[in-house]
Symmetry: C2
Amino acid sequence: MFFINPMRVQVEEYINTLQNSIVLSLEQLDPSAPPFKRDAWVRPEGGSGRSCVFAIPLADDDSLPQPPTTILEKAGVNISIVHGILPPAAIKQMRADHTSMPLPDSPNGLPFFAAGLSLVIHPRNPHAPTVHANYRYFEITSQSSDTDADAAPKVLAWWFGGGSDLTPSYLYQEDASHFHKTLQSACESHGPQLYPTFKKWCDEYFYIPHRKETRGIGGIFFDDLNSGVHARLPDSQASTPRPRSPDEIFAFVRALGDAFVPSYIPILRIRAKVPHTQKERRWQLLRRGRYVEFNLVYDRGTKFGLMTPGARIESILMSLPETARWEYMSEMGTMEGTEEERLLSVLREPREWV
Amino acid sequence: MFFINPMRVQVEEYINTLQNSIVLSLEQLDPSAPPFKRDAWVRPEGGSGRSCVFAIPLADDDSLPQPPTTILEKAGVNISIVHGILPPAAIKQMRADHTSMPLPDSPNGLPFFAAGLSLVIHPRNPHAPTVHANYRYFEITSQSSDTDADAAPKVLAWWFGGGSDLTPSYLYQEDASHFHKTLQSACESHGPQLYPTFKKWCDEYFYIPHRKETRGIGGIFFDDLNSGVHARLPDSQASTPRPRSPDEIFAFVRALGDAFVPSYIPILRIRAKVPHTQKERRWQLLRRGRYVEFNLVYDRGTKFGLMTPGARIESILMSLPETARWEYMSEMGTMEGTEEERLLSVLREPREWV
């Protein structure tokens, strides 16, 4: 047992491998497109990361802009492994969502470690959905002792979080169903309550109150998953088993991470080839406007990132689409019987897809 | 004296006239463009408004999209006159910025009245700046007495607020100077401290912390202007006169409102004709992305509006540009000696323009 790596090392290895395999899958899908741009960075306050970004550089001259024909329009698959000191105010704030968080009674704050993969993929074709995913591990440790600097710091609190969700501009029931079923299968062997509970959480989280609609057709979302009581899961292990130990929860998160490619790439492969009209492109850009509204106004990760001094803004805002559009009182989506209205009706009332 | 209209009626008349004259000026500038769409609305909770919106409807078929040649891309000039009951929580929150606001000790809240004009103009040409302006009057009154329903309610607190600011994608010093000088002239006869104080306030307000830059080259911004002590103005009337009575402050706000057309239209007339490249258009769309970031993440009016149940979302988000663009780690603006970098250097360190 002595030689088993601590969880932080295991998570770091896993998200590294996952990043490579996701980027490779996307590159293999569209071999004539330029490769993702790999961009390693170091955080001066502690930690590092690697962004893998897809974007088509624009011609600088005034040659008639040839519309690019790549499958992807803009995509980012990022990992970051950062550590530092969490000030008492941040500890206090995080205790609202994380019941195992220690009391903010240490005047100098507490060391934290955070490792995660986060991705957003915006395809070009209006029939191909945008997807977002995130898998993360968080740890709070004791201040390292001065007398025994080599001793590993004690883990005071830890949790996993993550999920993935799909945002189509046009609704294909079979896509929504495939995406959700793949996630459900990944959850199944880890506990019967996981998929239904986290599916519901996803619908609640990715909601745009001022539009009275969800961002997309959902997926799963979870946070604060550790050995303790969880606010959204039944606590009796006998009646409804769930992953509880660090290893069990990590296995669950790996199952979800491994399910990402099979949940999304088959959809992208088919929908990227669907012929589309200018009008459908316009609707896609209006939907991208909603994506921007959700991310900038409500997304907790984005808001937290923008307020963190020294945060890497380019990584945080990488989730925004290449182009978004806003029309005053747009008529698109208002006419009953249209495909645009059919999508909206699903966003206004989340459905079961499996 | 008995027949002088109460301030709310005077303000309502003024913003009605101002809206007409601004929309007319814009329409006269580009006679071949479609007229603004006038759109009157009623707020079920009390009040009404009129949106005047400019947008080019897109062709629904797939005919090669002819790029429109209008001077404006998207513009809205809106007035709203609303009233209702401000709940104690809202009163409490507003007391932070409005020292004359009564204590939130009335369990049923207090009646309010708000009238204002607000406009955003996004021209098509990347050399023509976006402009935003807002002029508003707010009033809190006592609950009307049951015994004397005809008696005018007592005004417990009131203030004016407003301003206008310019957001160029390319810096023309003479434009910035003309815009600011016109505002300064409008302020001058009302008090020597008004322009310098409100110019500084504008630079502070329209700041995007996560980008470490201002939204544009500023203008003036003020709030909570009434007869009482003002947090940003010297209080000694002897040494530095300032508008103090309702009539004096209203005269100052009218001077600013009347200065809008001469401050902006001459700039738009010249810059709308400047030849431009695809690259300059790309930079304009990136700058529009920043505009969206400011409005959705920081603008108090937008945030307050989005959180208000029953608010008219289409009016609140009308300020967003037709199209915005985001690039990961864009090289535009990073190269010294370019026009893009020259703009950024001014946004990073606000300047005096008069």
